[in-house]
């Protein structure tokens, strides 16, 4: 069975509340696809609709071209990995992994053989007879993956499975998940609020906010060519400057802000007079040399600096107490910043985005 997943005008409401509003996208077979958004944005609702625990209010979920309406989660070619893993604590590791096969009437011997294979795939050789409670966090994670893979799903759904792990293990599991996905070659749909996870693992990402899919694209696309104010502010850090477009020339536009006119790429083809926001990422800001005019100059005052290891963050305040963040890579010699010092910042217009004014993600 082919395993592309299509959302066709998918809308899901709970009473008056619209959790997902008119989602349309197609996830290709074998793709690692992530839904990224803050909690409550509707990403888990989409996952539950794909796995079959929720029926769409309107629209369709299609897997391999087949409308899934009315097909229960136990009949769909999907397997779900729960946020808390939901391993069966009263069964051994091998029984957990083989549960889906037991359901399908596979013989005990075959089950054990398959479980052992999956234990090997997930680097858990020889752990089959242990109880789940005897495993570490990362091992439990891998058991959950093995249990889901055992039923040979066409689509594997993952609901923030790494959120309970500590940082080091999380980073390790990212690589591992990606490797497993490439080995088994099935479609992965991954739900996360952690942009780092989404950016590092995914082929493509759908960024969501308040039930609406804001943008679908690969990591670079979403980061470099954000299509909405929400995406620009949610994915990575960004400095928004609000204003109105005073000039639109070709691929660029100038926004009149409280810091004066600022120029950036006009991705969305907006025209003069439109309310807009200009976004500059911390790493795109540099200190301007010398005095005098020039394009894209932001006057501000240094508040403090933070050493982050590979880079250095400088926090500044501009006109109207507006906080501004810039970052510099650690190239061996870092300038010193004294709080209260004036900071004259600038950026290249190619490194800034002019987008329609809209909702901005809050930390």
């Amino acid at each position: 069975m082919s395993a592309d997943v299509e959302l066709d005008h998918l809308t899901i409401r709970f009473g008056d509340f619209t959790a997902v509003s008119d989602a349309n996208l197609k996830i290709e077979e074998g793709e690692f696809f992530s839904f990224l958004g803050p909690s409550g944005c509707g990403k888990t609702t989409i996952l539950r609709a794909v796995s079959g625990f929720l029926e769409p209010t309107e629209g369709e979920v299609r897997i391999g071209g087949k409308n899934m309406r009315g097909i229960g989660p136990n009949k769909r070619p999907t397997a779900l990995i729960f946020q808390n893993l939901a391993l069966f604590p009263l069964m051994s590791v091998a029984d957990n992994i083989a549960f889906g096969l037991e359901v399908r009437g596979v013989s005990k011997y075959e089950r054990r053989k398959r479980a052992d294979q999956l234990l090997e795939l997930t680097a858990l050789e020889g752990q089959g007879d242990k109880m789940v409670s005897e495993l570490s966090g990362g091992q439990k994670q891998r058991v959950a993956i093995a249990r889901a893979l055992a039923v040979e799903p066409a689509v594997l759904l993952l609901d923030e499975p790494l959120s309970a792990l500590d940082l080091k293990l999380r980073q390790h599991m990212r690589t591992e998940l990606r490797a497993i996905q490439q080995r088994v070659g099935i479609t992965f749909i991954y739900i996360t609020h952690d942009q780092g996870e989404a950016l590092t693992m995914s082929d493509r990402i759908a960024v969501m906010s308040q039930g609406v899919i804001q943008q679908v694209g690969n990591g670079t696309d979403v980061y470099e060519n954000s299509q909405t104010a929400f995406v620009a502010s949610f994915v990575g850090e960004n400095n928004p400057f609000s204003g109105r477009i005073v000039r639109a020339d070709g691929d660029f536009a100038v926004v009149e802000t409280s810091f004066g006119p600022l120029r950036g790429r006009n991705l969305r083809g907006m025209s003069e007079g439109d309310p807009a926001m200009l976004f500059v990422r911390p790493e795109s800001l540099t200190f301007a040399n010398g005095a005098g005019g020039g394009e894209n100059v932001i006057e501000s005052t240094v508040v403090n600096g933070e050493f982050e290891g590979s880079f250095f963050s400088v926090f500044l305040r501009g006109e109207g107490d507006k906080p501004i963040v810039m970052s510099m890579t650690n190239s061996g010699s870092l300038p010193e910043f004294r709080p209260g010092e004036p900071g004259r910042l600038t950026f290249k217009p190619e490194r800034a985005l002019v987008l329609p004014r809209g909702e901005v993600a809050h930390e």
Partner: protein, 340 residues
């Protein structure tokens, strides 16, 4: 009775005095209380509360559990004597009361006391049946309340289950008589609908008895089950379903194993109480069906033969213990888990 009082009263008064005087004594008798004060249990709970707890627990265990049973056990091995004969040559320990249950009176035609043995076995088997029936009724309710409708409707169901138990047990039993009697509501409905042309004697068929007993102990089954099922992470149910499991296998492999302590606890409670029930069999039992407790009651009350009654009661108690231990063994649960 006077013997009992003479034993009980001094101990009770001493305990009371100890509780009342503890704070005073603590201030004055530094040596002894200093030692007591260093015991961790006392440190944690304070001298007054710990004294109360210890006395209350000991009083409960001794007066409510150990003493009555020891008296019963002692009675069961004695002859039924006139007061004048007590302490005389006939006042010796004997197995005759137990022999009577097994073999009847010496010189009877039958080899065994079939009459009483049959009642005993029927009581045990019927109680097991009532327990299973109760489990079958309560498991879906408990699952619904614990997993499907948390809060809201679930709470209303709990209330609906509790409310009827504000009505006196005897009244409820008679209400069942009215329901199941030959001229009762159920027969009236069946006759009107033409499903039967003769009223069915539910009482004689023991339908009323089983229904009444199941109903009487429904809460004792529902709540242990509910407690156990409610603590199951619903994701596990969904995970099993997602892996392709049909509903019955989810219950068999995920919900029931998790609820095992609750199942064991509910089943043992219901079995014990059903086997020991008196009012319901008295009121709802058919004319030919006797409950073992009714025989015990007769020995004590109408027969005036306390030793014989005690022996029967001890046998029933042992049967119940065997049942509980078997259930615990089968379900592989410990007493501690049941108490959860």
């Amino acid at each position: 009775m006077s013997e009992f009082l003479s034993l009980f009263l001094p101990v009770f008064l001493a305990a009371l005095l100890a509780i009342l005087l503890a704070p005073v004594a603590q201030r004055h008798a530094a040596g002894f209380w200093g030692v007591v004060g260093r015991i961790r249990f006392v440190q944690r709970n304070g001298i007054v509360i710990s004294t109360y707890l210890i006395v209350a627990v000991i009083a409960w265990v001794v007066f409510m559990i150990v003493l009555p049973q020891v008296y019963m056990l002692d009675f069961s091995f004695r002859n039924n004597l006139f007061p004048a004969e007590i302490g005389g040559p006939k006042d010796v320990y004997t197995l005759s009361n137990y022999e009577y249950l097994l073999f009847g009176r010496p010189g009877d035609e039958e080899m065994f006391n079939w009459l009483h043995l049959t009642v005993f076995l029927r009581t045990i088997i019927a109680s097991i049946f009532v327990t299973l029936l109760n489990f079958a009724i309560c498991y879906p309710i408990a699952y619904y309340m614990g997993q499907v409708a948390k809060g809201g409707y679930g709470r209303m169901m709990i209330l609906a289950l509790i409310l009827p138990f504000w009505v006196n047990e005897i009244l409820r039993a008679f209400a069942f008589r009215i329901l199941f009697g030959t001229s009762g509501v159920i027969n009236a409905v069946l006759l009107t609908l033409g499903l039967t042309d003769q009223p069915i004697d539910f009482l004689r068929a023991d339908v009323a008895l089983y229904a009444g007993l199941s109903y009487a102990y429904i809460l004792l089954m529902v709540f242990p089950l509910y407690n156990a099922i409610e603590s199951l992470d619903h994701n596990q149910v969904e995970a099993a379903r997602d892996l392709g499991s049909p509903w019955w296998r989810i219950h068999w492999r995920v919900v029931m194993p998790h609820a095992k302590p609750g199942i064991a606890s509910g089943c043992t409670l219901v079995f014990m109480l059903a086997a020991g029930a008196l009012a319901a069999p008295q009121i709802l039992g058919g004319p030919s069906s006797l409950w073992f407790t009714q025989i015990i009651y007769d020995w004590f009350n109408t027969g005036g033969n306390w030793p014989q009654g005690s022996a029967y009661a001890i046998v029933l108690l042992l049967a119940c213990l065997v049942f509980v231990l078997t259930v615990m063994r089968v379900f592989k649960v410990s007493l501690g888990e049941i108490a959860k």
